[in-house]
Symmetry: C2
Subunit: 76 residues, 2 copies
């Protein structure tokens, strides 16, 4: 469980982040900018098939590459 | 209405994209990579307060800057 409950609780959503490179499993990626309630950006991936939501490490190079790929119209 | 219904319909989600620079209104941004049912990446922003979902132009420089800002731990 790397995610707190859904909803708009006034705190960070992610407790821990995925260490493995799971780019190919990703169906979509959601970016949450810093807020007064959570000072760091959070990135949550939704996985194909299972729909599972996984927090990603915003500082991991592979995560940035996944996002760059998506922005370049390519599959992660 | 720039979004088709939610759910996992086998087609693109966005019909049209926002032209104005709405970076400051954005609460979160979701990236959908290309799929067999939609050949181009789609970017959907959720707005603060209203929660409205807006499709963004993946090729617009301001959209890329918003995403870069978020990845750099800054507010869009």
């Amino acid at each position: 469980m790397s995610l707190r409950g859904l909803g708009v609780e006034p705190r960070c959503r992610c407790i821990e982040t995925e260490r493995q490179r799971i780019g190919r499993l990703i169906e979509s990626v959601e970016l949450f900018p810093p807020t007064p309630h959570c000072e760091d950006t959070e990135i949550i991936a939704t996985l194909k098939r299972t729909g599972q939501e996984i927090c990603l490490d915003t500082t991991a190079p592979w995560v940035k590459k996944v996002i760059e790929k998506i922005l370049s119209n390519r599959k992660p």
